[in-house]
Every structure is written in C-alpha cells, then in structure tokens.
Symmetry: D2
Subunit: 258 residues, 4 copies
C-alpha cells in the first residue's frame, strides 16, 4: 500500500457523502433499495424496467429454506455464542462453487459464447467433458418452473434478448447431442437475464449474496432468539458414524515423559 | 442436534418453496426486493408506507465510502486471492460494536426506556457513566443532517411516533443535564424509526448488514477487477511504526539444537 | 489510518525477518513450534518448564470430536465448494461466548479476584446471580478428570501456584455456599494455569484458537476429501421441524403487478 | 444430511475423548503440541525426526510482519469492535491463492510430476504459459535464504529425498530453458519437504494456517489492547485516490418521490 487505495464508488465532497456522484442525502427517500443497489453496482441510475427486473431477481433468491450449508454454518456459528453479524458472515462464506457459484459460472459461459453456434459450443464442452454451468437439476427433469417464471417475467419487462435465446438453444442442443435433457435451471435463467442487463460475470456471485442475505439474517436472528446457545451440537450416537481407530495404547516411548 | 432443527421462515410444500406461507413463485415479479425483505424478517407483507420507510432506511445505509474497517477487511481478503463471497464475508465480520453496533444499542435503549421520563433516564445513564448509544458525532455538533433527513421522511411517510419523540427528548435532556450537546446521530434516528415499525432490537444489526451489503459487494468486486492480487500490503517503511525489540542474539542454549 | 499502523511483534532489518528481536532464520530448526508460539505471544523465549506447560495446554485443546458448532460450521462451509482456509476460518468464527469463551471468562475472573477471600467472592457472585465462569459441567458432577489431569501436570512441572489454589478454593466455596457442587471444569483449570504463567486474560481465547486449529484443519480436510460437495444439507423431512405459516394466498393487491 | 456425518479423527468411548484411537487424557502431558498436530493430521504418532521436521516448518511460518493482507484484515475486523476470534477468523480468510496458496500449488506440482524428467516438465509448463508454483521471488534473485535454510535442516534431520532433489532440478531446468533464474522460494522448499513426509497436497494450506495462526492471534490481541476501536479507518485525503464521478444532480424524475 505504498500506493494509494483507489475507488470509484463513493466519496465525500465538503463533508457530504456522495454515491456514484449523487448526494447520499438526495437519494434517501427518493430511490428504492433496489434502485440504490443498481446505482452502487453499475454506476448509473436504473430505468423503470431495469429496477423491476432486478427486483424480480433478488426476490427469487431471497430465501430458500433452512437446508443449505450457508444456513447450517450461520446458525452453528450463532449458537457458539456470537453476535448476529458473525453468524451472517459465516453464512456468506458458504457461498462457494457448489452454492451460488453456478450463477457466476453460467454468466461466464454465456458471456464468452453467446455469439457462437450453440450446438458447436455444446459439442466442444461435451467433448472436453466439462459440465456446462446452469443446466441440470436433481429434481426437475422436464423443465425448471423457476426458470420458466423468470423468463416469463423477463419477456413482460423486456429483457428477453440474445442471452436468453442462446440459453434456451443450449438446452435444446444438450438434449440433441447428449440424447438426454438437462433442464436450464434457475441459475442459468438468472445468468442469462443479468447478462442481458449488461452485468459482468465476475459480479455474478454478488447477486446471489445480496439476494440471499435477508434469509441469512432471518435465520441467524431466529437461532439467537429461538434456541439456546450451543443448540447446534451433533449427537455422536445418532448423527455420526465413526470410521476411525479403535482405542489403542500409547506406545511406552511416549509415556511418562514429564 | 438430537433434537430437530426448527424454523418458521420457509418450507417446501409439494416440492414448491414457500416463504412465510407465500409461494416463492408467486412473490417473484410481484414483490419489490424491499417488500420481500420485510416479509422474510417480519413474517407479513408490508403496507405501502412500511415499504417506503424501509426503502429509505436501506438506502441511507447502502454505501459509505472506502474508509471503514469493513471495506478494508473485504478488500484485503480479496487481495489475498479469494472469490468475491469470501471478501464480502470478511467485511460483514467487521460490523462489531464499533461499526454498526450503535444501531442495535440504540434500539435496545429506546425499546427499554421509551415509556419512562427522558430526563430521568438520561440522569441515570450519566450517573452510571454509561454512554447512551445513538448520540454524539465527531464532526456534527449542532445536528446530524442525516438524522434530520430520516426524521423528515418518517414524518412524511407516517412513522414519526413515540420512539422518535422520545429520541428527540433524550437529545434535549442530554444537553440540559450534561450542559453539552450530543447530537442524535443517524444510528439513533434509524433506531427510533425501526422501533416505530415494530422491529425487535436484537434484529438491529440485521438492518445494517442488509443495507450495507451492496457497498461491500461493489468494493470487493472493484478490488478484484481493478487491482492486482496482494495489492493490499503495508509498506513497513512508510506506513508502519515498529515499537518492538531491536535485533538480539539467540541465547546459546537455544542454538545448534538439531 | 492517518496515523501509522503500530506493532511490536516482528520487523524486517536489512531485508531479514525478525520475530520479537530474534532472526527468523535462527529460530527455524532451533525452536519447537510451542517455543516459537510462546515467543510470539509473550515476547520472550520460554524456559523448559514454560514450554512443557504450554505443550500440555495446547494438546488438551487440540481436537474434541466432530460434535461442536465450530466443526459443523467448518464442514458446512467447505461443503459449499470452498478452499480449506475458508472452512477453517468459518470454524474459528464459532468460538464465541458459548464455545471457548469460558476460558477467557475464567481467566478474567481469576485475575481480578485472586487476592480476595474466595468465599466472599463467591457470595458476591451468587448474590448478583452472575455465573462464575470455569465451574460446572453437564456430565461431570464429582470432578472433571481433565481438570484433575491438568493440575497434576502443573504440579509436576511447577506451575501450581496461587491461581490454581484460588481456583480450587472457589470450587469448595461454591459447594459450601450454594449447597451444590459445581466442578471446576477444564476451562477453569487451564485458566488458572495460564494465569500462573503470566498471560493476560484478554489473550484467553487465543490459547483456545491456537490449540484447536489443528482439529479444525483435519475436519475441513476430511470433508473435502471424504465427502461430496453440498453433502452438508439438512433433510427437511427428517431433520427439521417447521413452525411457520401454512400455505396462504397472496393478497389481490400484490398480484399481477408487472 | 439424511445420511450421517462421518469422521475418522476422534470419538468418545465411555465418555472419554479419544484422538485417532489414543485417549486424550494420555497424550496430554506426554506429547508435544507438534506431535499432537502430526497425530491429528496424519493419524499416527510421529517419529523423532518427523516431529523435528514439522517443528522447523511451523516455526518458519509462525509470523511474518504486519504487512500481509491477513494481518490487515484481522486488525481491521478487530477494530470494528469484535472479539479476538472474529479478527483471527477474518485473517484466516485472507489465505487465498495469492497468500499461502503457493504452498498448496507447489505440493500439487511436485506430487504430480516428481517421477518425470524435470526439463520435460518445465518445458511443458513454459509452453502452456502456466506459472510453476514455488519458484520466483520479487526480492531474491540468486537464491532464497529461507529455502536454503529449510533444505539444510531437511538434510540434517533426514528428509532430503526425491521431492527435494526434483525441486532443485526444476530450478536448474527453469534457468536453462527460460534463460533466467527463478529461485525456488520458501513455499517451494516447504512443499518439497512436506511431500517427502508423505502429506497430501490438498492439506497444503493447512500447514500454512496452523503455522501462521499464532502470528494472527498476536496481531489481533495487539490491536485490541494497543489501539482504540475504529483505529483502522482510511484517511480519504491522504490514503485514497478517487476515480469516480464528480458530484451531479439527481434527475428530476427521481426527485420528490415521497
């Protein structure tokens, strides 16, 4: 850090906070939260349809049951006797490759290949045995209702363009070439729409984080007010299988050393 | 965990996700993100004025420059060669007592004392030498313009009630009893409004986390795309003062031990 | 940070790293890890008995089954598709008040009261209904075998002094005054010994973190090599109880908004 | 988690804790911390030379100045008003690809290529323009004194075998083929030795984490006792360069919306 830190996001002019050039005091009460998020991330104010689209995307991610690793981590950490923010922070950490990562991966895939022939792309990936992110679901085999819903909304609002079409064509190409349908899942659908809106794939996980944080906050709060500290503790007898060594004697050479 | 995990937030009925009883597929495209957040946190859909108030609160928190510890932590972690979510998670961890904690503290103070006589309360705190959270600012000495703005909006929307009045009276009581003005800062103002909306103080830091997360995402993303890995490294010569031991010789008894 | 960062721990002299004044290159191969830890934390090299005592303390903390919240968090985060260090970091976050915090609390209690009359102290705490940290165990009711072992070792090595005696007297005083035995648990015993060694209570959780980190590393590694990504996912049907709303219809005013 | 959690690390038999089959109460006071770490990670007790080698490795990593991103993150988070463990946890998160990751990468490289011809391997990597992890240093151009020291110790103790020789041959091959020397750095040297000891590369970052944690604890503790809360705050004027928008007026359509 011999060099200065650098940023283009916000600054103080005459002791007043400005975000992307707009006075913070002016946007409070005038922008919806989603409009402010768009401004922070993109640098400009959204149009009405951009705001609507982003609202739909965040709402689709806002909460998805107690089951995923992020909630397990958040509630476990909270149960260790921590403040709300420590549990939420731990939950965010769980958003790795297998949990939210598909959105980023699918955005990268679409943004790098959208102008190519879908069948050619799919063939290339299948030949190299690389999984195409955004396709396949363990439960949905015909279509993913959430993807369908997201694309319906994108059509109504006006964000169904070349990325969405390409995403659909890839789904067809996979079925044709692989001989087995892998549905475009909700990560794939959101990835297409967000690409349509001009967002960089490297920001991909950011949508997931912002969208899901309210769910993590609610779960961590629920743990703190509903359960006792240390409630998250495995019961060895019922919940764990031990695969290790049976009891054994410490070798003589390690005994009575003090 | 011999006992089951318990939650009231969301559930699957017939393989469909429901949030607080409403089908996720139904709220997508119909609720704004802020309405969905309210639903997740409070359990019910907001009225129009509740939505507006919450929008104003989140916007007021959405980003506050590169300076605070949370952004330093987020960008430092990202510069270690990490994914976006790891940097953001580290940033959330910085939201301790001195950084966002005042909001929670001020909510607790207001909710526990709102029905008492303000001067009596202030006297009690001053006597016990306990700092009243939500008051005082190192720069603003007459009034905090952000508090003023938040209360103006609360009045227009219709959330200026007993908590806000009590918060103002406490400001006056401090000046009267202490003989020195401590302005009601923005944490104090938001605390009053959120209390007015019926939120529990233990959820206090949650508003700060949800509101500020877009700023953390933007800063971490900026670090990843704008700077080289390991860019966040202190320059010992220019940025650090060493207060420790001068070089000294290892005692003989510790030498040549292998 | 207009002011410089400050540290007394380590520095570079002529491009060579020094730790507490000793050349890093000199201590490598000459100090055991435990001796180096002592140097880093305390600022000086340990005597032989200080090294032995610290070894015993760290070994007592090194691993304590898969059950605690820290391991749950570490493995859940790893299962989200993260690198080893992200899982371990999340595990460390779980070391809150209810998980490792007792060690810090017990050190504080002992260091603040060691020169007072034990019965007077216990009476004061019981009157104020404050729990005395370091006493009580849900399973051990007569004595905690780990505390017994730690005190035996402290006696052999030569660290059984006024803190340890005070800790034992407090145990007796609790039984006498409360009429019910609360055994001095392993946190209490370690707290007494570490106080005997001259460590500040505010470093208390540090011993727990350093001692337990190898267990967290082993568990996170085991998760990564033994289990599939997303293996840590709750089974709603078998492992969760839902306490929330039944499915309900979205009010008309919220429908067809786009 | 419909399936049980699984582990081979530790277990309770008759309410007694066992680690890798040995009674915890037995290893306390008999094993050094390093021996216990070896047991936890490897599953077996170390020989005398394995213990010595591991001690040297951990000591080489134990602390490396206030400069790196991990310390910046740890101290920034602590300064937000957090407990010791939260700062340390944030520090661990900084150990990404660019900070400790080289050790894991170098282990992988050595373990996958050790039985091949070094020049062939180097040529392959250079042709593919893939950086070989463990080589190169911004300051040391002739040799890295830390690598030299580690290899000297490995020779004395008896861990200088095929991995170390291969690592040296790769250094020579790089110089020969590339026409420019890239010194084998300390990550490369440790990677070779740890491979010699039979550790899996996927555990690589674990050595870094365990070795460096005492330094992180010391820095976080120092922050908490030496500095005021919020001491870690950037000075916009002196430490930050703003690259963003100048102040601009909010468009009329966004004004007076409430």
């Amino acid at each position: 850090m011999s060099k200065k830190w650098r940023t283009a996001i916000s600054w103080h002019f005459d002791h007043e906070a400005y975000v992307r050039g707009y006075k913070l005091a002016d946007i409070i009460g005038n922008l919806s939260f989603t409009e402010a998020i768009y401004l922070v991330l993109k640098g400009e104010l959204p149009t009405e349809k951009e705001k609507k689209m982003l609202d739909a995307i965040f709402v689709s991610l806002v909460e998805h049951s107690i089951a995923p690793p992020s909630v397990i981590a958040a509630r476990a950490v909270a149960s260790g006797g921590n403040s709300l923010h420590v549990g939420v922070g731990a939950g965010v950490l769980a958003f790795g490759e297998a949990h939210g990562g598909a959105l980023e991966g699918a955005m990268k895939f679409l943004q790098e290949n959208v102008d190519r022939n879908p069948e050619e792309v799919v063939k290339e990936f299948l030949d190299k045995k690389i999984r195409i992110p955004g396709y396949g679901h363990r439960y949905y085999k015909e279509y993913d209702p959430r993807s369908k819903r997201m694309f319906e909304i994108a059509k109504v609002i006006g964000f169904f363009g070349k990325y969405c079409r390409f995403a659909e064509e890839v789904e067809k190409a996979i079925e044709k070439i692989k001989g087995k349908k892998l549905v475009m899942n909700v990560d794939g659908a959101i990835a297409a729409i967000v690409s349509e809106m001009g967002f960089d794939y490297r920001l991909g996980k950011g949508f997931f984080i912002i969208g899901r944080i309210p769910g993590l906050v609610a779960h961590t709060y629920e743990e703190l007010v509903m359960e006792k500290p240390f409630s998250k503790r495995l019961d060895e007898e019922k919940e764990v299988e031990y695969l290790g060594n049976k009891p054994r004697e410490l070798p003589e050479s390690f005994k009575n050393r003090n």
